[in-house]
């Protein structure tokens, strides 16, 4: 199946199934409602086959270009059928499983994620390890019958819904830094795991603290080799900044269009609108090129930090415009539309913080892309 054929077929199918796929919870869904609806959309699109295109056949996919995945997410987010952040977790975690899990494990688990039967989370950050991932301390100790994990993670998106977790643990000495990290695939119902959602500024408890108190993880749940978890993380992070961002860009395009339609006359100046649309265009053009590089089989790396920087800058610029153009809605609006604009505006403040902060991304650009050597 090629992209034009896929595009046409998906659009027709989405038109035909609009009634089933459109959320009935209105614009101010709770996260519970959003997650339930996400599962429904993923199941329908998987069962119809669309969700399987662009993924390898050995993990339940139908093969074909990765552009098909990029397009499906674009179509779903542009129609406002799913929220892009929670939808695109698949784009971040499935490639890691395909790349690093035992083939049998990947073959069993990945279809469950694609079909929306399961939610997975990503246990990377810790209270003492925000930007400095190489210093993580959540410890996994080798026993005769498997790993025992003790420690804590934080900012773990969707952990309260997750059945599985891609978890980075310390298996070497503390001094071993990035060389002593091992990645594990953990069942979230294992005894000893406690999840505490964190109330956030924008109103959705999307992030959690996760506590591990002597949690048993079988050896066959090790992703990649022992001590090579850094490679897993370095492989995963570019996926946070590629197809997931293309989906987000489609969503931002839709929201900016809504802003233009809804903003009262005179509330926006032409220069501001032009500038923000330039940013959106450049960000989307960059992400588009990244989708084509992925499709061509290139290995994505540090250059995706540019995509993340552009996303963060663009998202905040769009919602700064929202705060000006829809000031009444954002500041005073207690109806569903007002609540949604306000929540999105507040969430946009985090765009330069999550997924590698603005500063970390610029450090990566300087060290890896400009070859400026190490800091200090």
């Amino acid at each position: 199946m090629d992209l034009p054929e896929f595009r046409e077929a998906v659009e027709r199918w989405l038109d035909d199934n609009a009634a089933d796929l459109t959320p009935d919870h209105g614009p101010t869904a709770t996260l519970d409602e959003q997650m339930a609806h996400l599962s429904l959309v993923k199941r329908r699109t998987f069962d119809a086959g669309w969700m399987r295109w662009g993924w390898p056949e050995h993990v339940g996919g139908l093969g074909g270009s990765t552009l098909l995945r990029a397009y499906l997410g674009e179509a779903l987010t542009a129609r406002d059928l799913v929220e892009p952040g929670i939808y695109s977790m698949t784009e971040v975690l499935a490639p890691t499983m395909i790349g690093f899990a035992r083939p049998e494990l990947a073959a069993t688990m990945v279809p469950r994620l694609l079909r929306g039967d399961e939610t997975w989370c990503q246990g990377f950050s810790e209270p003492g390890t925000g930007s400095n991932l190489g210093a993580l301390a959540c410890r996994a100790t080798r026993r005769d019958d498997g790993w025992r994990v003790v420690g804590q993670k934080v900012w773990t998106s969707l952990a309260q819904y997750a059945q599985r977790c891609v978890l980075l643990t310390r298996t070497g000495t503390v001094e071993s830094a990035h060389r002593g990290i091992t990645a594990l695939f953990v069942d979230m119902d294992t005894p000893g795991i406690t999840v505490r959602p964190i109330e956030t500024m924008h109103g959705a408890p999307e992030f959690c603290e996760v506590f591990f108190d002597d949690v048993a993880v079988p050896f066959d749940r090790t992703l990649g080799d022992e001590g090579r978890g850094w490679a897993v993380a370095m492989d995963l992070l570019p996926f946070e900044r590629s197809t997931a961002l293309w989906h987000r860009s489609a969503y931002l395009n839709r929201r900016m269009e809504r802003l233009l339609a809804a903003a009262p006359a005179g509330s926006l100046t032409a220069t501001e609108v032009g500038e923000v649309f330039h940013q959106l265009f450049a960000f989307r053009a960059r992400s588009l090129a990244t989708q084509h590089r992925l499709d061509a089989g290139e290995t994505l790396g540090a250059e995706t930090s540019v995509d993340k920087i552009l996303l963060a800058t663009t998202e905040q610029a769009i919602y700064d415009l929202v705060a000006d153009g829809l000031s009444d809605e954002v500041v005073l609006g207690d109806d569903p539309d007002g609540e949604r604009w306000r929540s999105e505006f507040l969430y946009s403040r985090a765009a330069t913080i999550y997924g590698g902060s603005a500063e970390i991304q610029r450090n990566i650009v300087a060290r890896r892309l400009l070859d400026m050597g190490n800091e200090r």
Partner: protein, 320 residues
């Protein structure tokens, strides 16, 4: 052009743009067959040459060739082109009785040519008038960037030696082609500025270590890098899209990006970058002028915003 041919062409262009400027570069481009490559593969010919010309700080008459080729006026005949005034995109001429009134700019080469083309009017009434350059008032501009050697062109009741009707879309297409070329030149100049600043940051030692190790310096150059990559991506998308709408966006983005790059690089180069003993100032000057040719970032941005506010929707662009 296939990958090998392209590589070979790029290498040759790199040599000639590094070694020549002005008339000498025009001659070298002629020998290289750039003019023949242009209609055969516009994107390759324009993107390679203009980025390298920008990177080298060189000048040529290639912008005239790009505009003439798009207007369908051919490359032979040794014609110059009168460009719109600074910051504008509307045609530089208007019909005045049997002749034309002219007010615009031209590249340095125009004075050496016998004839120049002046576009008048927009829409259905658009004309391409050919005039003798001897009939025009030409002022060689010193200005901000003397090495660019632009010329201010004026004239009243200038007799047209030939006039031809232009299709409604011809002038917008010519402006778009010129904007894409200038955007490449801006990106090329920006890359050179960043290269100069990076080199300086790695060599310059303060407080016992290279200033490249200071985060404040690194982040400035990272910002410049991201600005260049954004412009480059917008430009690639504009080529695929091919419309005046995206060409104008790419030009505005490249213009603003070059200003960002210029600001950060000048700060990192500090004292030496403020002297004429270092090349930075040549590029700082160049990008300000290039930004304002065929519509500046400021006016293009405002016009885009007016257009979007008017339609209250976004155009469907950038398909996967």
């Amino acid at each position: 052009m296939d990958a090998d041919a392209r590589e070979l062409f790029a290498t040759s262009l790199r040599h000639v743009t590094a070694a020549n400027t002005g008339d000498a570069l025009d001659a070298a481009l002629g020998e290289l067959g750039w003019g023949e490559a242009l209609p055969a593969d516009r994107r390759t010919a324009v993107s390679l040459l203009f980025e390298l010309q920008g990177a080298a700080g060189a000048t040529s008459s290639a912008l005239d060739a790009v505009i003439l080729e798009t207007l369908g006026l051919g490359l032979e005949g040794d014609l110059g082109v009168v460009l719109p005034p600074l910051g504008r995109t509307d045609p530089p001429g208007s019909v005045e009785g049997e002749g034309v009134r002219v007010g615009g700019l031209a590249l340095a080469g125009v004075a050496a040519r016998d004839r120049a083309v002046v576009i008048t009017g927009t829409g259905e009434g658009s004309l391409a008038a050919v005039v003798d350059t001897a009939e025009l008032k030409l002022r060689a501009v010193h200005g901000l960037d003397p090495r660019l050697g632009i010329v201010e062109v004026t004239g009243a009741h200038v007799p047209a030696t030939a006039r031809s009707d232009l299709p409604r879309t011809a002038w917008p297409a010519a402006v778009a082609a010129g904007q894409r070329a200038l955007a490449h030149e801006l990106v090329g100049a920006s890359r050179t500025m960043l290269g100069l600043a990076r080199e300086h940051a790695l060599e310059r030692v303060q407080f016992g270590r290279p200033i490249a190790s200071f985060q404040a310096v690194r982040h400035r150059l990272a910002e410049a890098y991201v600005a260049i990559e954004a412009a480059d991506a917008a430009l690639a998308a504009a080529w695929v899209d091919g419309t005046p709408f995206t060409a104008a966006m790419a030009k505005a983005i490249a213009g603003r990006s070059a200003r960002t790059v210029s600001r950060h690089c000048q700060q990192v180069l500090a004292g030496i970058g403020f002297t004429t003993e270092h090349d930075l100032h040549l590029y700082v000057r160049r990008v300000i002028v290039l930004d304002r040719l065929l519509g500046g970032a400021r006016s293009l941005t405002r016009r885009l915003g007016e257009d979007l506010l008017e339609r209250r929707s976004l155009p469907s662009i950038l398909p996967l």
